[in-house]
Protein backbone atom coordinates (compact mmCIF):
# COMPACT_ATOMS: atom_id res chain seq x y z
CA UNK A 1 0.00 0.00 0.00
CA UNK A 2 2.77 2.43 0.87
CA UNK A 3 4.43 1.52 -2.41
CA UNK A 4 1.24 2.38 -4.20
CA UNK A 5 1.22 5.87 -2.76
CA UNK A 6 4.97 6.24 -3.09
CA UNK A 7 4.51 5.47 -6.76
CA UNK A 8 1.87 8.12 -7.14
CA UNK A 9 4.01 10.61 -5.27
CA UNK A 10 6.97 9.70 -7.42
CA UNK A 11 4.97 10.17 -10.57
CA UNK A 12 3.62 13.54 -9.57
CA UNK A 13 7.00 14.68 -8.34
CA UNK A 14 9.00 13.70 -11.41
CA UNK A 15 6.37 14.99 -13.78
CA UNK A 16 6.28 18.28 -11.94
CA UNK A 17 10.07 18.53 -12.16
CA UNK A 18 9.88 18.08 -15.90
CA UNK A 19 7.12 20.63 -16.20
CA UNK A 20 9.15 23.16 -14.27
CA UNK A 21 11.99 22.74 -16.74
CA UNK A 22 9.84 23.30 -19.79
CA UNK A 23 8.20 26.25 -18.10
CA UNK A 24 11.56 27.79 -17.39
CA UNK A 25 12.56 27.42 -20.99
CA UNK A 26 9.31 28.87 -22.17
CA UNK A 27 9.58 32.06 -20.22
CA UNK A 28 13.27 32.46 -21.02
CA UNK A 29 12.82 32.01 -24.72
CA UNK A 30 14.42 35.37 -25.51
CA UNK A 31 17.64 34.17 -23.97
CA UNK A 32 17.54 30.52 -24.96
CA UNK A 33 16.38 30.70 -28.53
CA UNK A 34 18.75 28.95 -30.90
CA UNK A 35 16.88 29.16 -34.17
CA UNK A 36 18.28 30.90 -37.18
CA UNK A 37 15.69 32.60 -39.36
CA UNK A 38 17.43 31.28 -42.39
CA UNK A 39 16.66 33.40 -45.41
CA UNK A 40 16.75 36.59 -43.37
CA UNK A 41 19.58 35.73 -41.04
CA UNK A 42 22.62 33.93 -42.30
CA UNK A 43 25.57 32.20 -40.90
CA UNK A 44 27.63 33.32 -39.08
CA UNK A 45 25.21 34.95 -36.73
CA UNK A 46 26.94 37.35 -34.39
CA UNK A 47 24.39 37.29 -31.56
CA UNK A 48 24.89 33.60 -31.10
CA UNK A 49 28.44 34.40 -30.18
CA UNK A 50 30.08 31.03 -30.31
CA UNK A 51 33.35 32.76 -30.86
CA UNK A 52 34.11 31.63 -34.38
CA UNK A 53 35.53 34.03 -36.88
CA UNK A 54 34.99 33.13 -40.48
CA UNK A 55 38.63 33.66 -41.30
CA UNK A 56 39.77 31.35 -38.53
CA UNK A 57 38.02 28.32 -39.94
CA UNK A 58 40.44 25.78 -41.27
CA UNK A 59 38.19 25.32 -44.23
CA UNK A 60 34.52 25.43 -45.00
CA UNK A 61 33.17 22.64 -47.09
CA UNK A 62 31.01 24.35 -49.59
CA UNK A 63 31.11 24.57 -53.35
CA UNK A 64 34.26 23.66 -55.20
CA UNK A 65 35.79 26.37 -57.27
CA UNK A 66 38.65 26.36 -59.72
CA UNK A 67 40.78 29.27 -60.71
CA UNK A 68 41.14 28.05 -64.22
CA UNK A 69 43.80 30.60 -65.01
CA UNK A 70 46.08 28.84 -62.56
CA UNK A 71 45.26 25.32 -63.63
CA UNK A 72 48.06 23.46 -65.34
CA UNK A 73 46.01 20.40 -66.15
CA UNK A 74 47.99 17.97 -64.01
CA UNK A 75 44.91 15.80 -63.36
CA UNK A 76 45.89 15.25 -59.74
CA UNK A 77 42.50 16.36 -58.48
CA UNK A 78 40.73 14.14 -60.95
CA UNK A 79 42.66 11.17 -59.69
CA UNK A 80 42.13 12.05 -56.05
CA UNK A 81 38.38 12.27 -56.34
CA UNK A 82 36.77 9.18 -54.82
CA UNK A 83 33.52 9.65 -56.72
CA UNK A 84 34.89 10.75 -60.08
CA UNK A 85 32.99 13.98 -60.21
CA UNK A 86 35.86 15.98 -61.69
CA UNK A 87 36.51 15.63 -65.38
CA UNK A 88 39.42 17.28 -67.10
CA UNK A 89 40.41 17.17 -70.73
CA UNK A 90 43.66 18.62 -71.82
CA UNK A 91 45.15 19.20 -75.21
CA UNK A 92 48.82 18.92 -75.57
CA UNK A 93 49.76 21.59 -77.98
CA UNK A 94 53.27 21.12 -79.37
CA UNK A 95 53.37 24.80 -79.99
CA UNK A 96 50.85 26.70 -78.08
CA UNK A 97 50.51 29.45 -80.60
CA UNK A 98 48.50 32.50 -79.85
CA UNK A 99 46.35 32.82 -76.80
CA UNK A 100 42.78 32.01 -77.56
CA UNK A 101 40.77 34.81 -75.99
CA UNK A 102 39.85 33.99 -72.35
CA UNK A 103 41.84 30.78 -72.24
CA UNK A 104 45.25 32.18 -71.42
CA UNK A 105 46.94 28.87 -71.94
CA UNK A 106 50.36 30.22 -72.63
CA UNK A 107 51.11 32.20 -69.55
CA UNK A 108 52.26 31.37 -66.10
CA UNK A 109 50.22 30.53 -63.03
CA UNK A 110 50.29 32.82 -60.05
CA UNK A 111 52.82 30.44 -58.51
CA UNK A 112 55.07 30.95 -61.46
CA UNK A 113 54.69 27.55 -63.06
CA UNK A 114 54.74 27.58 -66.81
CA UNK A 115 51.61 26.08 -68.27
CA UNK A 116 52.25 23.24 -70.64
CA UNK A 117 48.76 22.06 -71.45
CA UNK A 118 45.58 23.60 -72.67
CA UNK A 119 42.72 22.69 -70.38
CA UNK A 120 39.90 22.28 -72.84
CA UNK A 121 37.42 20.92 -70.36
CA UNK A 122 37.24 21.21 -66.60
CA UNK A 123 33.87 20.20 -65.21
CA UNK A 124 32.85 19.43 -61.69
CA UNK A 125 29.53 17.75 -61.13
CA UNK A 126 28.51 19.19 -57.80
CA UNK A 127 25.57 16.80 -57.61
CA UNK A 128 28.05 13.97 -57.30
CA UNK A 129 30.58 15.74 -55.13
CA UNK A 130 30.90 14.26 -51.67
CA UNK A 131 32.62 17.31 -50.20
CA UNK A 132 35.58 15.32 -48.94
CA UNK A 133 38.02 18.00 -50.06
CA UNK A 134 40.48 15.33 -51.17
CA UNK A 135 40.95 17.10 -54.50
CA UNK A 136 42.17 20.29 -52.90
CA UNK A 137 45.16 18.83 -51.10
CA UNK A 138 47.21 17.48 -53.98
CA UNK A 139 46.77 20.53 -56.20
CA UNK A 140 50.23 22.00 -56.78
CA UNK A 141 48.90 25.39 -57.78
CA UNK A 142 46.20 25.58 -55.10
CA UNK A 143 43.74 26.50 -57.78
CA UNK A 144 40.96 24.11 -56.80
CA UNK A 145 39.46 24.93 -53.45
CA UNK A 146 36.26 25.07 -51.51
CA UNK A 147 34.90 28.58 -51.40
CA UNK A 148 34.36 30.57 -48.25
CA UNK A 149 36.11 30.44 -44.92
CA UNK A 150 39.83 31.02 -45.30
CA UNK A 151 39.36 31.17 -49.07
CA UNK A 152 36.84 33.99 -48.81
CA UNK A 153 39.32 36.38 -50.34
CA UNK A 154 39.51 34.23 -53.45
CA UNK A 155 35.82 33.48 -53.71
CA UNK A 156 32.98 34.39 -51.34
CA UNK A 157 31.13 31.60 -49.59
CA UNK A 158 28.40 29.93 -51.56
CA UNK A 159 26.45 27.15 -49.88
CA UNK A 160 23.10 27.65 -51.52
CA UNK A 161 23.64 26.68 -55.10
CA UNK A 162 20.50 24.69 -55.65
CA UNK A 163 19.26 24.42 -59.19
CA UNK A 164 16.09 23.32 -60.90
CA UNK A 165 17.86 21.12 -63.37
CA UNK A 166 20.41 18.54 -62.45
CA UNK A 167 22.62 19.42 -65.37
CA UNK A 168 22.94 22.96 -64.02
CA UNK A 169 24.95 21.51 -61.17
CA UNK A 170 27.72 20.58 -63.58
CA UNK A 171 30.05 23.51 -63.33
CA UNK A 172 32.17 24.34 -66.33
CA UNK A 173 35.35 26.08 -65.41
CA UNK A 174 37.33 25.90 -68.60
CA UNK A 175 36.46 28.08 -71.51
CA UNK A 176 34.76 25.93 -74.03
CA UNK A 177 36.74 25.65 -77.21
CA UNK A 178 35.03 25.28 -80.50
CA UNK A 179 36.12 22.69 -82.98
CA UNK A 180 38.17 25.07 -84.95
CA UNK A 181 40.12 26.22 -81.98
CA UNK A 182 40.71 22.64 -80.93
CA UNK A 183 41.90 21.84 -84.38
CA UNK A 184 44.20 24.81 -84.26
CA UNK A 185 45.70 23.68 -81.03
CA UNK A 186 46.23 20.10 -82.05
CA UNK A 187 47.56 20.86 -85.52
CA UNK A 188 48.94 24.34 -85.32
CA UNK A 189 48.87 26.16 -88.58
CA UNK A 190 52.14 27.10 -90.08
CA UNK A 191 51.23 30.77 -89.90
CA UNK A 192 50.90 30.56 -86.20
CA UNK A 193 54.32 29.01 -86.04
CA UNK A 194 55.82 31.86 -87.90
Amino acid sequence: MSRYFANIYDTVNTLWTGMRITWRHMINIKRDNVTLQYPEERWPRPERNIGFEHENYNIIRSRLHVDIDDCIGCLKCERACPVDCIHIDTIKAPDRGEDIPDVKHTGETSNGTKKALVVSRFTIDMSECCYCNLCAYPCPEECIFMVGGPNSSKHPIDYEFSEFDRTDLIYQFAKKLNTEQKENLQNPKPEAEA
Binding site: N7, D10, G18, I21, I50, G51, Y57, N58, A80, N133
Partner: protein, 372 residues
Protein backbone atom coordinates in the same frame (compact mmCIF):
# COMPACT_ATOMS: atom_id res chain seq x y z
CA UNK B 1 5.59 -14.12 -46.89
CA UNK B 2 5.26 -17.11 -44.70
CA UNK B 3 2.23 -18.76 -43.24
CA UNK B 4 0.14 -16.74 -40.86
CA UNK B 5 -1.16 -18.86 -38.07
CA UNK B 6 -4.55 -18.63 -36.50
CA UNK B 7 -5.21 -15.20 -35.14
CA UNK B 8 -1.89 -13.72 -36.04
CA UNK B 9 -1.47 -10.68 -38.13
CA UNK B 10 1.54 -9.57 -40.11
CA UNK B 11 2.40 -5.99 -39.64
CA UNK B 12 4.98 -4.20 -41.72
CA UNK B 13 6.88 -1.62 -39.79
CA UNK B 14 8.79 0.30 -42.36
CA UNK B 15 10.59 0.81 -44.69
CA UNK B 16 8.99 4.20 -44.23
CA UNK B 17 8.09 4.63 -40.61
CA UNK B 18 8.80 7.43 -38.19
CA UNK B 19 10.87 5.45 -35.75
CA UNK B 20 12.84 2.89 -37.66
CA UNK B 21 15.81 5.25 -37.65
CA UNK B 22 16.33 4.96 -41.34
CA UNK B 23 15.02 2.59 -43.95
CA UNK B 24 14.48 -0.58 -42.06
CA UNK B 25 11.62 -2.94 -42.57
CA UNK B 26 10.40 -5.08 -39.73
CA UNK B 27 8.01 -7.85 -40.56
CA UNK B 28 6.22 -8.25 -37.28
CA UNK B 29 3.91 -11.11 -36.45
CA UNK B 30 1.46 -9.86 -33.90
CA UNK B 31 -1.28 -11.30 -31.83
CA UNK B 32 -3.25 -8.18 -31.06
CA UNK B 33 -0.67 -5.88 -29.62
CA UNK B 34 1.65 -8.67 -28.58
CA UNK B 35 4.58 -9.38 -30.85
CA UNK B 36 5.35 -13.00 -31.47
CA UNK B 37 8.08 -12.76 -34.08
CA UNK B 38 10.08 -10.13 -35.86
CA UNK B 39 11.87 -10.54 -39.15
CA UNK B 40 14.10 -7.57 -39.87
CA UNK B 41 14.72 -6.88 -43.52
CA UNK B 42 17.76 -4.77 -44.13
CA UNK B 43 19.68 -3.68 -47.17
CA UNK B 44 17.61 -0.73 -48.26
CA UNK B 45 20.59 1.52 -47.71
CA UNK B 46 23.21 -0.80 -49.14
CA UNK B 47 25.77 1.34 -50.88
CA UNK B 48 28.39 -1.31 -51.61
CA UNK B 49 30.96 0.10 -49.23
CA UNK B 50 33.07 -3.02 -49.40
CA UNK B 51 32.92 -3.37 -53.16
CA UNK B 52 33.61 0.31 -53.54
CA UNK B 53 36.64 0.14 -51.29
CA UNK B 54 38.23 -2.42 -53.56
CA UNK B 55 38.20 0.10 -56.37
CA UNK B 56 39.58 3.22 -54.74
CA UNK B 57 42.84 3.95 -53.03
CA UNK B 58 43.33 3.71 -49.30
CA UNK B 59 42.90 7.41 -48.64
CA UNK B 60 39.79 7.50 -50.75
CA UNK B 61 38.15 4.90 -48.53
CA UNK B 62 37.99 7.39 -45.68
CA UNK B 63 35.14 9.48 -47.13
CA UNK B 64 33.19 6.27 -47.53
CA UNK B 65 33.72 5.28 -43.91
CA UNK B 66 32.20 8.65 -43.01
CA UNK B 67 29.06 7.66 -44.75
CA UNK B 68 28.67 4.36 -42.99
CA UNK B 69 28.04 5.63 -39.51
CA UNK B 70 26.98 9.11 -40.36
CA UNK B 71 26.26 10.03 -36.77
CA UNK B 72 29.75 9.26 -35.59
CA UNK B 73 31.90 9.80 -38.63
CA UNK B 74 34.92 10.75 -36.56
CA UNK B 75 34.83 7.38 -34.88
CA UNK B 76 34.41 5.60 -38.20
CA UNK B 77 37.46 7.45 -39.50
CA UNK B 78 39.27 6.71 -36.29
CA UNK B 79 38.74 2.97 -36.55
CA UNK B 80 39.93 2.89 -40.12
CA UNK B 81 43.07 4.92 -39.55
CA UNK B 82 43.95 2.99 -36.41
CA UNK B 83 43.71 -0.25 -38.36
CA UNK B 84 45.70 1.19 -41.25
CA UNK B 85 48.41 2.56 -39.03
CA UNK B 86 48.74 -0.76 -37.29
CA UNK B 87 49.01 -2.46 -40.66
CA UNK B 88 51.61 0.01 -41.92
CA UNK B 89 53.33 0.37 -38.55
CA UNK B 90 53.15 4.13 -38.54
CA UNK B 91 53.75 6.02 -35.35
CA UNK B 92 51.76 9.22 -35.37
CA UNK B 93 52.81 12.35 -33.51
CA UNK B 94 51.49 12.85 -30.01
CA UNK B 95 49.43 15.84 -30.97
CA UNK B 96 47.60 13.88 -33.63
CA UNK B 97 46.67 11.24 -31.09
CA UNK B 98 45.32 13.85 -28.73
CA UNK B 99 43.36 15.59 -31.44
CA UNK B 100 41.88 12.31 -32.53
CA UNK B 101 40.83 11.42 -29.02
CA UNK B 102 39.24 14.82 -28.51
CA UNK B 103 37.38 14.60 -31.79
CA UNK B 104 36.36 11.02 -31.24
CA UNK B 105 34.98 11.74 -27.80
CA UNK B 106 33.21 14.89 -28.93
CA UNK B 107 31.61 12.87 -31.66
CA UNK B 108 30.69 10.21 -29.14
CA UNK B 109 28.89 12.84 -27.09
CA UNK B 110 27.14 14.08 -30.21
CA UNK B 111 26.11 10.62 -31.26
CA UNK B 112 24.89 9.68 -27.79
CA UNK B 113 22.96 12.91 -27.53
CA UNK B 114 21.17 12.09 -30.73
CA UNK B 115 20.59 8.51 -29.62
CA UNK B 116 19.13 9.61 -26.29
CA UNK B 117 17.08 12.38 -27.82
CA UNK B 118 15.64 10.18 -30.51
CA UNK B 119 14.93 7.59 -27.89
CA UNK B 120 12.89 10.16 -26.04
CA UNK B 121 11.12 10.88 -29.30
CA UNK B 122 10.35 7.22 -29.77
CA UNK B 123 8.84 7.10 -26.33
CA UNK B 124 6.88 10.22 -27.14
CA UNK B 125 8.75 13.06 -25.46
CA UNK B 126 9.53 15.67 -28.01
CA UNK B 127 11.23 18.37 -26.03
CA UNK B 128 14.34 16.55 -24.73
CA UNK B 129 15.10 15.63 -28.33
CA UNK B 130 15.40 19.25 -29.31
CA UNK B 131 17.40 20.17 -26.23
CA UNK B 132 19.87 17.46 -27.07
CA UNK B 133 20.05 18.40 -30.70
CA UNK B 134 20.64 21.97 -29.63
CA UNK B 135 23.72 20.90 -27.72
CA UNK B 136 24.86 18.53 -30.41
CA UNK B 137 24.72 21.48 -32.73
CA UNK B 138 27.47 23.15 -30.76
CA UNK B 139 29.63 20.09 -31.17
CA UNK B 140 28.97 20.14 -34.89
CA UNK B 141 29.88 23.81 -34.91
CA UNK B 142 33.23 22.91 -33.43
CA UNK B 143 33.75 20.21 -36.02
CA UNK B 144 32.89 22.66 -38.73
CA UNK B 145 35.37 25.06 -37.26
CA UNK B 146 38.04 22.41 -37.37
CA UNK B 147 37.48 20.57 -40.59
CA UNK B 148 34.84 22.50 -42.45
CA UNK B 149 32.19 19.79 -42.43
CA UNK B 150 29.39 19.23 -40.00
CA UNK B 151 28.55 15.61 -40.52
CA UNK B 152 30.92 13.81 -42.88
CA UNK B 153 34.32 14.95 -41.86
CA UNK B 154 37.02 13.02 -43.69
CA UNK B 155 39.15 14.48 -40.93
CA UNK B 156 41.43 11.71 -39.80
CA UNK B 157 43.98 10.55 -42.28
CA UNK B 158 46.32 7.65 -42.20
CA UNK B 159 49.25 9.05 -40.25
CA UNK B 160 47.67 12.30 -39.21
CA UNK B 161 44.68 14.54 -39.39
CA UNK B 162 43.72 16.84 -42.22
CA UNK B 163 43.93 20.08 -40.28
CA UNK B 164 45.45 21.21 -37.06
CA UNK B 165 43.10 22.55 -34.44
CA UNK B 166 42.07 26.09 -35.31
CA UNK B 167 42.80 29.14 -33.25
CA UNK B 168 41.27 29.13 -29.77
CA UNK B 169 39.83 25.69 -30.19
CA UNK B 170 40.85 24.65 -26.69
CA UNK B 171 39.13 27.64 -25.19
CA UNK B 172 35.96 27.06 -27.17
CA UNK B 173 35.93 23.39 -26.30
CA UNK B 174 36.37 24.05 -22.58
CA UNK B 175 33.66 26.66 -22.83
CA UNK B 176 31.36 24.12 -24.39
CA UNK B 177 32.09 21.51 -21.73
CA UNK B 178 31.45 24.01 -18.96
CA UNK B 179 28.16 24.85 -20.55
CA UNK B 180 27.29 21.28 -21.31
CA UNK B 181 27.85 19.54 -18.00
CA UNK B 182 24.97 21.22 -16.14
CA UNK B 183 22.73 20.39 -19.08
CA UNK B 184 23.05 16.68 -18.34
CA UNK B 185 21.29 17.26 -15.05
CA UNK B 186 18.51 18.96 -16.91
CA UNK B 187 18.11 16.06 -19.32
CA UNK B 188 17.94 13.74 -16.39
CA UNK B 189 15.29 15.76 -14.67
CA UNK B 190 13.29 16.23 -17.81
CA UNK B 191 13.46 12.76 -19.25
CA UNK B 192 15.44 10.16 -17.35
CA UNK B 193 13.70 10.34 -14.01
CA UNK B 194 10.34 11.00 -15.54
CA UNK B 195 8.08 8.30 -14.18
CA UNK B 196 6.36 7.68 -17.48
CA UNK B 197 9.70 7.27 -19.20
CA UNK B 198 10.92 4.89 -16.51
CA UNK B 199 7.73 2.88 -16.77
CA UNK B 200 8.12 2.61 -20.51
CA UNK B 201 11.75 1.53 -20.43
CA UNK B 202 12.49 -0.28 -17.18
CA UNK B 203 12.03 -4.06 -17.35
CA UNK B 204 11.37 -3.81 -21.07
CA UNK B 205 13.47 -5.67 -23.61
CA UNK B 206 15.91 -7.36 -21.28
CA UNK B 207 19.05 -8.69 -22.96
CA UNK B 208 20.79 -11.06 -20.56
CA UNK B 209 24.57 -10.87 -20.60
CA UNK B 210 25.17 -14.26 -22.22
CA UNK B 211 22.64 -13.59 -24.97
CA UNK B 212 24.25 -10.23 -25.58
CA UNK B 213 27.69 -11.77 -25.94
CA UNK B 214 26.40 -14.53 -28.15
CA UNK B 215 24.75 -12.01 -30.41
CA UNK B 216 27.93 -9.99 -30.56
CA UNK B 217 26.12 -7.02 -29.10
CA UNK B 218 28.71 -4.49 -28.10
CA UNK B 219 29.27 -1.03 -26.79
CA UNK B 220 26.66 0.63 -24.58
CA UNK B 221 24.18 -2.14 -25.35
CA UNK B 222 26.53 -4.77 -23.98
CA UNK B 223 27.51 -2.65 -21.01
CA UNK B 224 23.85 -2.09 -20.33
CA UNK B 225 23.65 -5.83 -19.80
CA UNK B 226 26.31 -5.60 -17.14
CA UNK B 227 29.35 -6.80 -19.08
CA UNK B 228 32.29 -4.52 -18.43
CA UNK B 229 33.80 -4.48 -21.88
CA UNK B 230 35.12 -1.39 -23.52
CA UNK B 231 37.69 -1.55 -26.28
CA UNK B 232 39.13 1.73 -25.09
CA UNK B 233 39.97 0.11 -21.77
CA UNK B 234 40.50 -3.52 -22.64
CA UNK B 235 42.34 -3.28 -25.95
CA UNK B 236 43.61 0.29 -25.75
CA UNK B 237 44.30 1.94 -29.04
CA UNK B 238 45.67 5.37 -29.77
CA UNK B 239 46.38 6.91 -26.37
CA UNK B 240 43.30 5.86 -24.47
CA UNK B 241 45.45 4.13 -21.87
CA UNK B 242 46.62 7.51 -20.62
CA UNK B 243 43.24 8.75 -19.53
CA UNK B 244 41.34 8.17 -16.36
CA UNK B 245 37.79 7.20 -17.04
CA UNK B 246 35.24 4.72 -15.84
CA UNK B 247 33.42 2.19 -17.92
CA UNK B 248 29.82 2.59 -16.81
CA UNK B 249 27.77 -0.57 -16.75
CA UNK B 250 24.09 -1.05 -16.23
CA UNK B 251 22.90 -1.97 -12.79
CA UNK B 252 19.20 -2.45 -13.25
CA UNK B 253 18.46 0.55 -11.14
CA UNK B 254 14.78 0.81 -12.00
CA UNK B 255 14.17 -2.67 -13.34
CA UNK B 256 16.03 -5.72 -14.52
CA UNK B 257 19.66 -5.71 -15.52
CA UNK B 258 19.94 -5.27 -19.27
CA UNK B 259 16.65 -3.54 -19.91
CA UNK B 260 16.09 -0.55 -22.14
CA UNK B 261 16.58 1.84 -19.28
CA UNK B 262 20.01 0.43 -18.53
CA UNK B 263 21.12 0.90 -22.11
CA UNK B 264 19.81 4.43 -22.04
CA UNK B 265 21.42 5.13 -18.70
CA UNK B 266 24.80 3.75 -19.75
CA UNK B 267 24.81 6.20 -22.64
CA UNK B 268 23.99 9.04 -20.33
CA UNK B 269 26.87 8.09 -18.04
CA UNK B 270 29.19 7.60 -20.96
CA UNK B 271 28.62 11.17 -22.03
CA UNK B 272 29.97 12.26 -18.67
CA UNK B 273 32.99 9.96 -19.04
CA UNK B 274 33.68 11.42 -22.46
CA UNK B 275 33.59 14.89 -20.98
CA UNK B 276 36.19 13.75 -18.47
CA UNK B 277 38.42 12.37 -21.21
CA UNK B 278 38.18 15.53 -23.27
CA UNK B 279 39.08 17.67 -20.30
CA UNK B 280 42.18 15.58 -19.62
CA UNK B 281 43.17 15.57 -23.26
CA UNK B 282 42.76 19.32 -23.58
CA UNK B 283 44.95 19.78 -20.54
CA UNK B 284 47.80 17.62 -21.77
CA UNK B 285 47.72 18.28 -25.48
CA UNK B 286 51.25 18.90 -26.78
CA UNK B 287 52.21 21.06 -29.71
CA UNK B 288 53.69 19.88 -32.94
CA UNK B 289 53.01 19.32 -36.58
CA UNK B 290 50.04 17.16 -37.40
CA UNK B 291 51.16 16.35 -40.90
CA UNK B 292 54.62 15.14 -40.17
CA UNK B 293 53.88 11.41 -40.19
CA UNK B 294 51.72 11.39 -43.29
CA UNK B 295 53.09 8.81 -45.68
CA UNK B 296 53.84 10.03 -49.17
CA UNK B 297 52.01 7.16 -50.73
CA UNK B 298 49.84 4.77 -48.79
CA UNK B 299 51.08 1.38 -49.84
CA UNK B 300 50.81 -1.00 -46.92
CA UNK B 301 52.82 -4.21 -46.90
CA UNK B 302 51.15 -7.45 -47.83
CA UNK B 303 49.08 -8.76 -45.00
CA UNK B 304 45.83 -8.47 -43.22
CA UNK B 305 44.58 -6.94 -40.04
CA UNK B 306 41.46 -7.00 -37.99
CA UNK B 307 41.29 -4.09 -35.60
CA UNK B 308 38.34 -2.93 -33.61
CA UNK B 309 37.76 0.36 -31.94
CA UNK B 310 35.05 1.68 -29.72
CA UNK B 311 32.57 3.66 -31.70
CA UNK B 312 29.54 5.14 -29.92
CA UNK B 313 27.58 2.09 -31.00
CA UNK B 314 30.11 -0.51 -29.97
CA UNK B 315 32.98 -2.48 -31.39
CA UNK B 316 33.64 -1.12 -34.81
CA UNK B 317 35.98 -3.52 -36.55
CA UNK B 318 37.84 -3.13 -39.80
CA UNK B 319 39.23 -6.12 -41.57
CA UNK B 320 41.73 -4.86 -44.10
CA UNK B 321 43.64 -7.07 -46.47
CA UNK B 322 46.44 -5.52 -48.43
CA UNK B 323 48.19 -7.00 -51.40
CA UNK B 324 50.90 -4.38 -51.53
CA UNK B 325 49.19 -2.10 -54.04
CA UNK B 326 47.75 1.35 -53.28
CA UNK B 327 44.28 -0.16 -53.64
CA UNK B 328 42.87 -2.22 -50.79
CA UNK B 329 42.33 -5.85 -51.60
CA UNK B 330 39.47 -6.20 -49.18
CA UNK B 331 37.95 -3.90 -46.59
CA UNK B 332 35.35 -5.37 -44.35
CA UNK B 333 33.55 -3.35 -41.78
CA UNK B 334 32.17 -5.12 -38.78
CA UNK B 335 29.47 -2.75 -37.78
CA UNK B 336 28.19 -2.74 -34.22
CA UNK B 337 24.67 -1.75 -35.16
CA UNK B 338 24.43 -4.80 -37.42
CA UNK B 339 24.98 -7.14 -34.53
CA UNK B 340 22.73 -5.13 -32.25
CA UNK B 341 19.86 -5.31 -34.70
CA UNK B 342 20.24 -9.05 -35.12
CA UNK B 343 19.11 -9.66 -31.55
CA UNK B 344 15.93 -7.61 -31.95
CA UNK B 345 13.84 -10.67 -32.74
CA UNK B 346 14.84 -12.58 -29.66
CA UNK B 347 14.60 -9.61 -27.33
CA UNK B 348 11.25 -8.29 -28.39
CA UNK B 349 9.22 -11.49 -28.49
CA UNK B 350 6.28 -11.26 -26.16
CA UNK B 351 6.38 -7.51 -25.88
CA UNK B 352 3.98 -5.04 -27.33
CA UNK B 353 4.34 -3.01 -30.48
CA UNK B 354 5.10 0.09 -28.47
CA UNK B 355 7.85 -1.84 -26.74
CA UNK B 356 9.35 -2.96 -30.03
CA UNK B 357 9.78 0.70 -30.87
CA UNK B 358 11.31 1.29 -27.46
CA UNK B 359 13.68 -1.66 -27.81
CA UNK B 360 14.68 -0.67 -31.31
CA UNK B 361 15.39 2.84 -30.11
CA UNK B 362 17.40 1.63 -27.16
CA UNK B 363 19.66 -0.39 -29.44
CA UNK B 364 20.64 2.84 -31.16
CA UNK B 365 21.04 1.51 -34.67
CA UNK B 366 22.23 3.49 -37.63
CA UNK B 367 21.00 1.99 -40.84
CA UNK B 368 23.83 3.48 -42.83
CA UNK B 369 26.20 1.35 -40.87
CA UNK B 370 24.08 -1.79 -40.91
CA UNK B 371 23.66 -1.80 -44.65
CA UNK B 372 26.99 -0.20 -45.46
Amino acid sequence: MGVVQGDQMTLNIGPQHPSTHGVLRLEVMTDGEIVSKIKPHIGYLHRCFEKHSENVTYEQVIPFTDRCDYLASMNSNFGYVVAMEQLMEIKVPERVDYIRVIMGELNRIGSHLLALGVYGLDIGAFTPFLYMLRDRERILDMFEYTCGARLLYNYMWVGGVSHDLPKDFEKICIGFLDYFEPQIEEYNNLLTYNKIFVERTADVGVIPADVAVSYGVSGPNLRGSGVKWDVRKDEPYSIYDRFEFDVPVGNGHFGTLGDCFDRYWVRMLEIQESVKIIRQALKDIPGGDVHQALPKKIRPPKGSIYRRTESPRGDLGYYIISDGTPVPFRVKMRSPAFTALSCLDEVSRGWMISDVIAILGSLDIVLGEIDR
